[in-house]
């Protein structure tokens, strides 16, 4: 499993690089995702530990899907750190979607720090059998 903790890196195969507008200070991480597709929908599953629905935003504009989430550091004064293997901060990731999505029908469910985004494809994008007449 490759390191999933790295500084913000938006440019990825086919992804659009836009400058991230940060409203919260702190590190920005790229959440790990699974993206899979069946004829009718594309599903995105993202690991966003510590993110609540209030601190999550999902945007789809011009074929670019942006996931933004933030987490407040859970440590309270006077806690002092003994072992620190991970940092808390914001999550940010963008994808350029090749297919057209029916935006009104997108569903997003956040549960136990995992976001499940179901993006139904627009009718015309579904593969259609073309009968060849002879």
């Amino acid at each position: 499993m490759e390191g999933n903790r790295q500084g913000i890196e938006v440019t990825e195969r086919g992804d659009v690089a836009l400058s991230a507008e940060q409203t919260r200070p702190g590190p920005v991480f790229m959440p790990q995702v699974d993206i899979f597709e069946i004829p009718e929908v594309i599903t995105v599953m993202a690991d966003l530990p510590g993110v609540t629905a209030d601190d999550l935003s999902v945007d789809l504009e011009d074929g670019v899907l942006t996931i933004r989430g933030s987490v407040d550091p859970p440590e309270k004064d006077p806690e002092e750190s003994l072992v620190r293997e991970y940092d808390t901060g914001s999550f940010y990731r963008q994808f350029k979607l090749a297919q057209t999505i029916d935006q009104a029908a997108i569903s997003a469910k956040l549960s136990d720090g995992v976001l499940r985004l179901v993006l139904p494809k627009v009718e015309a994008a579904k593969p259609r059998q073309i009968t060849i007449q002879t």
Partner: protein, 149 residues
């Protein structure tokens, strides 16, 4: 002509300080028995351990884990976290990205002090496991009043 650069004397840290830093790091790493902190096949949750005068706190990022698949036990000054994370394979789907890993994990963290195992409490919220481990009462540092004439 060969020119060799030697460490300027004022930049080399004193051996004593380096040695005590190395020993501190070693103690911290020794405290993480079981799996290593580096990413390798399987799911090893990264953990953060903090303390305040009364408790230790252990936090782990474990998104999408069912609490029934999580096992937590504590004895003396050690806490063991184990379980499994299931990522179901979606039938008939073609994957464009596959970054999330599932599998079993197990870690034991050794704490610098004994804990009161009867009072250990754990919460799982939004994919973060937080374990509160109260320190044994008798081992908490006590303030000593200094009397003067």
């Amino acid at each position: 002509m060969l020119v060799r650069r030697l460490w300027p004397a004022q930049f080399s840290p004193t051996p004593g300080r380096l040695e005590s830093m190395r020993r501190e790091m070693q103690t911290l790493f020794d405290a993480l028995e079981g799996t290593t902190a580096s990413r390798s096949p399987g799911v090893f949750p990264a953990v953060n351990v903090t303390q305040d005068p009364d408790n230790f706190y252990l936090r782990a990022e474990l998104p999408g884990v069912k609490t029934g698949d999580l096992d937590l036990s504590a004895v003396q000054n050690r806490v063991t976290l184990s379980g499994k994370r299931e990522i179901p394979q979606e039938e008939g789907a073609s994957y464009h990205r596959r970054e999330r890993a599932g599998g079993s994990f197990g870690r034991t963290v050794t704490l610098p002090q004994e804990i009161d195992t009867k009072k250990v409490a754990a919460r799982y919220d939004n994919g973060i496991l937080t374990v509160t481990l109260p320190k044994v009462e008798a081992h908490k540092p006590r303030s000593i009043a200094i009397k003067t004439r």
